[in-house]
């Protein structure tokens, strides 16, 4: 405001009237926008407070988070029972959201890149297949896609008694209409020590990789950083496993009565949500990849061809590394969109953060304002963190140019 006062004093000496002076307009525009936003927020808040008072509801309080949940959850990466507090149920949901988001964003990026490259193929058939893919899946509501995968494909898998069994007996994988079952380790007493060893190994590998990179930059010859990183990680993992008395107890799934017992499993709701959203998001990512590839100068491809590179290597070594600068910004939005779209899992019974908090918990406690505020803040935080990470990456690849 000080600048406005100072400016007005100055403006009196000049002949331009205020209403046409761009410097004055610039300031007044901002004042108007801030006033409008503040006005709307104040109106909404007072509205809510009045509504709550007239309905004689209990005042806003977040104490209910410590109450006992009172419900069970099928899909969970951490231990959860009905006597656990409500905030732990939220954590279960949040982890489920992360699980499907991370797997989904990685898969959608790979599939999308593949289709985007296909779209630009000189082969008529290949390019048209990609074109059809993009236009079909971009124009179907994602909700429909995941209901299709869940109901029409996954629920039609054979019953447990007739499950498809792969890689028996070394690594038996069971596929049935209750989920995917595979051998998995359960923690024993020494697991907690082993976990620290793994963490230490990871830190050590990271440190060595950093030193190797620095060394590579000094000498101008880059050693195989990734290889050494993996070797150290593997060495520590194996060594720790040998030293400790079996930190994990590996169990294999097996048919017992009417169910499959032992090992780990991933639910069909997870697969339905994952497949539906990956196929949807990949169509958008493909278009972003296509735009990125087209943004690379024609001369780059010509120079690479003249040097005798194969088409695959031209794409991998020359075109895609340059295209990525254009692809990353839209990819940020799609990754965020993917994370938000996982809330559609509610429709097929996947217990993600939204289904648990906005469904189960809201219904059980009736705390609409509190739960919705938490949901809003959580999704906002996830999105902001995701864009922060990707922006940092974006800045790094832009600066190295």
């Amino acid at each position: 405001m000080l600048s406005l006062v100072r400016y007005m004093a100055y403006a009196e000496q000049t002949s331009t009237p205020l209403y046409r002076d761009e410097r004055f307009l610039r300031i007044i525009n901002q004042v108007v926008v801030v006033a409008l936003v503040a006005g709307v927020l104040i109106f909404l808040y007072s509205n809510m407070v009045t509504a709550l008072r007239t309905q004689k509801e209990v005042p806003i309080s977040y104490d209910f988070l410590n109450d006992t949940a009172g419900f069970n959850l099928g899909e969970s990466t951490i231990a959860f029972t009905r006597t656990d507090p409500i905030h732990r149920a939220m954590l279960v949901g949040l982890l489920n959201t992360f699980k499907v988001s991370i797997a989904g964003i990685v898969l959608a990026t790979i599939l999308g890149t593949f289709i985007g490259v296909m779209r630009l193929s000189t082969n008529f058939l290949v390019s048209k297949i990609a074109l059809v893919y993009i236009n079909v899946f971009r124009n179907i509501p994602p909700l429909l896609l995941l209901i299709f995968w869940y109901r029409a494909i996954f629920l039609k898998l054979p019953r447990v008694q007739e499950a498809i069994v792969l890689f028996d007996p070394v690594f038996p994988v069971y596929i049935a209409n209750r989920g995917l079952f595979f051998p998995w380790g359960t923690a024993t007493e020494s697991w907690y020590t082993y976990r620290w060893i793994l963490l230490g190994g990871f830190a050590l590998a990271l440190f060595v990789a950093y030193l190797l990179r620095q060394h590579g930059k000094r000498t101008g010859r880059m050693p195989l950083v990734t290889l050494w990183f993996l070797v150290i990680l593997l060495a520590v993992t194996v060594l720790g496993y040998v030293i400790l008395p079996d930190p994990l107890e590996i169990t294999k799934p097996a048919l017992k009565g009417f169910n499959i017992r032992g090992g780990g499993s991933v639910s069909l709701e997870f697969w339905g949500l994952l497949f539906g959203l990956v196929i949807y998001a990949a169509a958008y990512i493909a278009e972003a990849v296509r735009a990125g590839i087209l943004s690379v100068d024609r001369g780059q491809r010509e120079a690479a061809r003249a040097l005798g590179f194969s088409s695959f290597n031209i794409m991998r070594l020359i075109i895609l590394p340059q295209a990525i600068r254009v692809v990353v910004p839209p990819l940020i939005s799609y990754a965020i969109g993917f994370t938000k779209n996982t809330s559609l899992g509610l429709a097929i019974g996947y217990t993600d953060f939204f289904a648990i908090t906005g469904g189960l918990i809201l219904n059980n406690t009736g705390r609409a304002v509190e739960t919705l505020t938490i949901i809003l803040l959580v999704y906002l935080t996830i999105s902001l963190i995701a864009s922060l990470i990707l922006n940092m990456y974006n800045r790094r690849i832009t600066l190295s140019h």
């Binding site: 010859r221 001369g299 010509e302 120079a303 061809r305 003249a306 040097l307 020359i318 190295s400 140019h401």
Partner: protein, 255 residues
């Protein structure tokens, strides 16, 4: 290899073009070009823009496909056989007007990637050769920089080193100095003259007539998709036969 070859050796021609024709849609870009290039020969092609000189040089390593006629490079005929195309590209290096260096790679990586991936050299070996080439083009201190950090003349010299790293038998230059500031033209031409004197077979599109006079064995004047006239620098500069050649030379040499 370092004999100063003004006269072609008594060998087979390293490039044979017979009646090469090319259309872009309805536009007849090459109307039957024939040319034989002997090992260690330096050919300069000049002519007005749109005369097909650039299109012609690009058919030799199949950046453009010719539609009729025959092109044989180092005994390998360019057909639709992908393996032949790959082999010809390994034997020919190309330098572009716009340099076309890979901006996301360092100078060293720009030079070493092709031999590492396409000739399957070991990295250490490729880097050794790359350093020698950078010495040769006079910028060994720029090895770890990115193309964007170099001047135009330096970039073009890196582009020459990059093409030489594949140890080609033939070098093609498509207006290598046309995108350069005047004071940088000389540093690139010096490298090209040194290369010509070392016995490299070269086809150069350029309007640097000083360069042509100094190192060209033969000149070809292109106009409207045809070779109007060809001959030694002496013949072309002092006794041009065709009216069109005289007029063009008068225009580019008048100032």
């Amino acid at each position: 290899m370092d004999c100063n070859s003004a006269s072609p050796l008594s060998e087979e021609p390293v490039i044979i073009c017979r009646d090469v024709q090319k259309w872009f849609g309805n536009f007849h870009a090459l109307k039957g070009i024939s040319m034989e290039v002997m090992p260690q020969e330096v050919i300069v092609i000049f002519g007005p823009s749109g005369s097909g000189k650039s299109t012609f040089i690009r058919t030799i390593n199949r950046l453009e496909e010719h539609q009729s006629g025959q092109i044989i490079v180092d005994g390998i005929e360019l057909t639709h056989d992908v393996r032949n195309i790959e082999r010809v590209r390994m034997e020919t290096g190309m330098v572009f007007q716009q340099f076309n260096l890979f901006p996301h790679l360092t100078v060293m990586q720009n030079i070493t990637y092709a031999p590492i991936y396409n000739r399957k050299w070991r990295r250490t070996e490729a880097e050794k050769v790359a350093m020698e080439l950078l010495e040769r083009v006079g910028i060994p201190e720029q090895a770890e920089k990115y193309p964007g950090q170099l001047s135009g003349g330096q970039q073009q010299r890196v582009a020459i080193a990059r093409a030489l790293a594949m140890q080609p038998k033939i070098m093609l230059f498509d207006e290598p100095t046309s995108a350069l500031d005047p004071e940088m033209i000389k540093e690139v031409l010096d490298v090209m003259i040194e290369l010509a004197e070392s016995g490299m077979t070269m086809i150069v599109i350029t309007h640097e007539m000083g360069f042509a006079r100094a190192v060209a064995d033969r000149l070809f004047f292109f106009d409207e998709g045809l070779v109007v006239e060809s001959g030694t620098p002496e013949e072309i500069f002092n006794y041009p036969k065709e009216e069109r050649t005289k007029r063009f030379l008068a225009q580019i040499l008048s100032h």
